[in-house]
């Protein structure tokens, strides 16, 4: 946990410039969503501006201003990795299910995570489900339980790379495994 996030969690009233940036970013995101949903209809902004303001306030009530530390290059790298792997995962599924005898050797695999931030863990778990041969079925106490379609595939190596890519989005370090 970073120091700035701690300051937010105890409910400081005054916003740092980074937190103000977060509020602005949320407003911009909701405005972009409105533009997309109305398909660029200018007349709709009469409703759009109050809606964007309301959405921003509601989101702040649920998730207090935080400091986003997204690395653009890291996010791009993760995006490309995710895209290529998810394409491969579908080809892999197709390759298996069209065979008369489906070649699978499923097992549950416990994978102790090296990323400790919850948001990063959730991204790892959800991404793993869209990658070849892995389906996340539980996430608790820094351990990800994976249902592997083929136990002979290099599951741990693949998950290791995925973890590194996700850590790269936020520029966070990977902890040593505790078990």
């Amino acid at each position: 946990m970073h120091d700035t996030e701690k300051a937010v969690s105890v409910g400081r009233r005054r916003l740092t410039w980074q937190q103000s940036l977060d509020v602005l970013l949320r407003g911009a995101t909701f405005a972009a969503l409105w533009w997309i949903l109305t398909e660029g209809d200018n007349a709709a902004w009469v409703l759009g501006i109050p809606s964007v303001a309301a959405a921003t306030l509601i989101s702040l009530a649920f998730v207090p201003p935080t400091v986003w530390q997204v690395r653009p290059f890291g996010a791009l790298r993760f995006g490309l990795y995710f895209l290529s792997k998810s394409l491969l995962s579908s080809v892999d599924v197709a390759r298996r299910v069209f065979q008369p005898h489906i070649p699978i050797k499923p097992r549950l695999v416990r994978y102790p995570l090296r990323v400790r931030e919850v948001k990063a863990q959730v991204i790892v778990a959800n991404s793993a489900s869209l990658m070849p041969g892995t389906l996340s079925v539980n996430l608790a106490d820094d351990v990800l339980t994976i249902h592997a379609l083929d136990v002979n595939a290099p599951i741990r190596e693949e998950l290791g790379i995925l973890e590194e890519r996700v850590a790269g989005i936020f520029g966070i370090r990977l902890e040593e495994r505790t078990e």
Partner: protein
């Protein structure tokens, strides 16, 4: 028929192929976990290809972004739902299928 139309047809065809693979997996695989694998992964890519095809045919960029947004929301939801179903099955002590040798 323009080149754009040809690419659209190819993308939709490929998209349908993956939807077919996902559905076939859902029908043919032995348990809830393996079925989740097939449907989650194949439908994600199937939808992506069909959204790309649709993006070639629509008029404005706002609509293209909307198609992209639909894909992102669907893939996030399907990955999350797959996780929840898997966890529920684990909690219900469903034993993952293993090939009897």
């Amino acid at each position: 028929m323009s080149l754009i139309d040809l690419i659209t047809i190819l993308l939709i065809g490929a998209g349908c192929f993956f939807f077919l693979a996902g559905t076939l997996g859902l029908l043919r695989l032995p348990d809830v976990f393996t079925r989740s694998h097939a449907i989650t992964k194949a439908d994600n890519v199937g939808l992506m290809l069909i959204m790309l095809a649709a993006a070639l045919q629509v008029e404005t960029w706002a609509t293209r972004f909307k198609l992209g947004l639909i894909w992102i929301l669907t893939l996030t939801a399907s990955a999350t739902v797959a996780h929840l179903i898997g966890r529920a099955a684990l909690n219900a002590e469903q034993k993952p299928w293993e090939e009897s040798t």
